[in-house]
Amino acid sequence: MQVKIQAVKRSNARFCSSHGIINRILTQKAAVFGFVIVALIIIIAITASVIAPNDPLKVNMSMRLKGLSSLYWLGTDNLGRCIASRLIWGARMSLIYSMCVLGLMMAIGIPIGLLSGYAGGRIDTFIMRIIDIFLSLPTFLMALAISGMLEPSVKNMIIAMASVWWAPYARIIRGMAMQTKQQDFMLAAKAAACTHTQIIFRHILRNIAPPIIVMATLEIGSIILAIASFSFIGLGAQPPTPEWGIMLSDSKEFMQTQPQLMVYPGIAIIVTVMAFNLLGEGLKNAIQN
């Protein structure tokens, strides 16, 4: 029992050392910049229903393609909908969708990776075979298969993305689990008669939690990018959802006459993705040092 408590304490001590990480992040200007923008986007997304000047779905044909005004901050689109409101709601949509993908990806990847790394032997070989199959197929192809063969919808897009992206994630977690397995406190945990579930979730998972979180942050940027791409080609969110990819796909028709329509959503996507990437890079550097 004594040993077990010590082992737990030790893993807690390692977990708590992430206070140092926060200090290390603060020393990196780019990461702080990324964090500020991410925080801003999250605030915008949460308060979308309050700060958006208009209803993002309300069609007003008499106000089509109007310029900037105090009522329509960024003008209106081809159906007279307020662009600024659609952008603000788009932030909420992008974040919700990406969190769903991330959550699903972690829910599949973490248990499988942990099991593969902890069990080893035949189970490990079998799981790695399956992971290899998924790794050899491009994300886009699987997403097209799932969204295309079933109905194109947000739900199917999320399922499609998670069903491909868990594989590389699980492989890295497997590697980390294997490393942790060889450390001394694992022996102590086993000697203290911890069950396998206890060892996997209390000892291994807690020890590798910080790098898992960092990896997740690094992925958010590319997930948001992929969501916008799939919605753009009609395999993801469906119109009239206020989503950045859909806004861009709507604007393509009016490229010749109204090029500004495709500028705003594009900027929204690139700023968000860059902010998440900056934050992720900063976190990665902080953890590696």
Binding site: R129, D132, I133, S136, L137, P138, T139, F140, L141, L144, A145, I146, S147, G148, M149, L150, E151, P152, G221, S222, L225, A228, S229, F232, I233, G234, L235, G245, L248, S251, K252, M255, Q256, P259, M262, P265, G266, I269, I270, V273, M274, N277
Partner: protein
């Protein structure tokens, strides 16, 4: 060597079986009633009996597994079914549209190699210089830039403003230079970074110092001693990258209205033309697996150490 390839080919069978099963099961789960769709084409307003007749004729009433086996048999004979929208064999459609996609992807791969090697090598050799900073900014830009947005901007500049390419029909282009450039610029960042880290690692190795001490010229050290050793992981990654270019070209094809296989697949999704989508996914999966195999063989030839792994 031949035995190795044979063994590798053998391990590909479960991968292909898995992919074909996934595509087939997804197809049978799809929301539309295929028998009804076909009956509507044949009889305009089909009665219930007519729908059921077609269902038995086409074998849609059999269990999924039985249908899968017969579909697989047909697929192995080169018959992937018929398109719902124009009744042409799916294989013919793929053969007709694939060269365009291949042309686009090969051109993109060429640009990708030029960009990533120039930037990657020069930023490793002149570490900390202006070009190193430029390549760092480029890497970051490339992972954050939405490919389709960049494509739209280029289409606006070169199509709507300069009139060099057609905004509506991409087939006026002889070579898809702008689409290929979009694809390669937006995916080049990871390769630049990979080449840079590999080159730096190799350049710090003892045998490079030994070569310098012997008075080998810097140019020869970089091209002959360092590059060859830094290349291996890059080639591996480029192989996978070529696969993603082939499969991912659909978005760019649809933006530039380039009549390739990807564009066909996207159109078929809109039309609910499931056999074409199914055929596309299966064809691409086989292609990916073959590309991976080729890359492994090439790596084995370049680096004999890998042969026995």
């Amino acid at each position: 060597m031949l035995k190795d390839i044979g063994e590798r080919l053998f391990t590909l069978i479960p991968v292909l079986l898995a992919v074909s099963l996934i595509t087939f099961v997804l197809g049978s789960m799809s929301s539309g009633d295929t028998a009804r769709t076909l009956a509507e084409k044949k009889y305009d307003r089909p009665t219930y009996e007519q729908i059921e007749k077609i269902r038995t004729e086409m074998g849609f009433d059999r269990p999924v597994l039985v249908r899968y086996v017969s579909w697989l048999e047909d697929a192995l004979r080169g018959n992937l079914g018929f398109s719902y929208s124009n009744d042409k064999p799916v294989v013919d459609e793929i053969v007709q549209y694939f060269p365009k996609t291949l042309q686009l992807s090969l051109l993109a791969l060429l640009f990708l190699i030029i960009i990533s090697f120039t930037l990657g090598i020069s930023s490793a050799v002149f570490s900390g210089s202006l070009i190193d900073k430029i390549s760092r900014i480029y890497c970051f830009w490339s992972v954050s830039m939405p490919e389709f947005w960049f494509g739209l901007i280029l289409l606006y500049i070169f199509g709507a403003r300069l009139g060099l390419i057609s905004v509506l029909g991409g087939n006026s282009m002889k070579f898809p230079i702008i689409p290929a450039l979009t694809m390669s610029l937006c995916s080049g960042g990871i390769y630049v970074r990979l080449i840079r880290t590999n080159m730096e690692e190799v350049l710090n190795k003892g045998y490079i110092r030994a070569a310098r001490a012997k008075g080998v010229s810097e140019y020869k050290i970089i091209t002959k001693h360092a590059l060859k050793n830094a290349m291996l992981p890059v080639i591996n990654k480029l192989g996978i990258g070529f696969g993603s270019l082939l499969a991912g070209s659909a978005i760019i094809e649809s933006i530039f209205s380039w009549n390739g296989l990807g564009n066909l697949a996207l159109e078929s999704v809109k039309l609910k033309d499931y056999p074409v989508v199914q055929g596309y996914v299966l064809f691409m999966a086989v292609l990916m697996v073959l590309i991976n195999l080729t890359v492994d063989i090439i790596c084995g030839i370049i680096d004999p150490r890998l042969k026995n792994v």
